[in-house]
Amino acid sequence: MHPSIAALIAFSDGEANAKQSRRIATHLSRCENCSDRLLLVRSEKDELSAGPAITVRHSRKGLDGVLAAMSNWRKGSAASELRVRLREQIEMYFGSQAVMVVERPGMPAEELLGRTSELLEVFLGPAGAESAIDDAFGGLHPGASEVRR
């Protein structure tokens, strides 16, 4: 009787008991088919063992990807927070309806910053505008300063 694949795996891993191991070894010496199956099990086992090594070999690229994604997420989050703060500045000095006039749908944070700065500079003067924009950036994630640049 041919041993099951589970028994072959256990034999290959050395987890079968002594009596079962002896019986499988006797069978393998006579059965070429089961010997081939055992070789297949061992090769698959080797491939599985080699899998993490391949991942490790390419892990640098994976980490960079994760870091880049995190950076992008942070930038996006900072830009979103900056947009909210710029809206608040416009609302505070001009009124809530002014936000709808200044900000067009889908306008990037950089453009909104430019328009808000210009609006504040014209109506409050350069010093007042600078203070107001500094206030908008106060305590914001460092990624937002890239938007300002």
Binding site: M92, Y93, V122, L124, A127
Partner: protein
Amino acid sequence: MRQIDGGGHCIVPRRIMVCLGAYLMVDLLAVYLWSSAGSAFSIQTPSDNTATLPLTAMAGLGLWLCLRVLRAFPAGAPLRRAWSLIAFAAAAQLVWGVLSQLFDSNWVLNSLLWTASAPSTLLGHIRLGALIAGGPVRLAALAGALFAVLRTLRKFGFWGRPRATDWAMCGIVCLFALCRFAEALAAYFAGAQMSMEEWASLAGLPILCMLFVEAIFLGQAVIRMGSGPVSKCWSAFVWGIFSIGFADVALWLIPHYCRSPLGMVESLAGFVTTAVFALGPAYQLTAQRWARTAGAPQENLATHASAVAR
């Protein structure tokens, strides 16, 4: 981002509103008493004198606020010219207040009455100077300023089409100007001699019509902004122009249709207009203070707030 304590910073506009409210209540009470007493006594002469100091003081406050606002706009700033013209208009209003109210009335602070009897020609010149300063000169400066402001507002998209009611109000003022011109022409062709004061008064009417048109466009721009201090500033100018126009119409209509203390109404209208115009730079200064406080270091915030309150 810091939260601004709006109450502490709006102290100047609030005080102007309180003064305006108190003045209105006292004047309306006086008119009520006068009408209740069956017009038995005259309140024309005393009202001229009692109006002198508050009106001139309010004009002075308006000029001082304009000069404070102007400091925030360096040379080359887009609204520098507009605020310079507004400050010039406020100065013209103060000159009008000083000349017409202080030197052209029989009250104790009139220095012309201390020395000798003032010659009538000098008083005539003073009256004419006051009329020109407070009339065409001031209105022209305001019209120039509002034109610059409207151009800037349009650039930023704060532009709206006036409503039918706006055009109706504008039409009333234009009709009033036409009536005044028709009256003057009828008097001229009837052989009546027109004084320089009348010419000066008439010269301001076309500018007033132009100001009304500007005011209705500015009003639409303010509606598109909302209710921040900057929009309240320009809103105050809109109401100031409306109050000039309607005061002129009222002062022209009152003698035609009813008996009422004209001197008191005139002084009341003058004070209301001056106070409303002073609200403009007061709100602008509030906005500038908010910005400065927002940019101030955290530890100095309490000190700055108390300084502003003082």
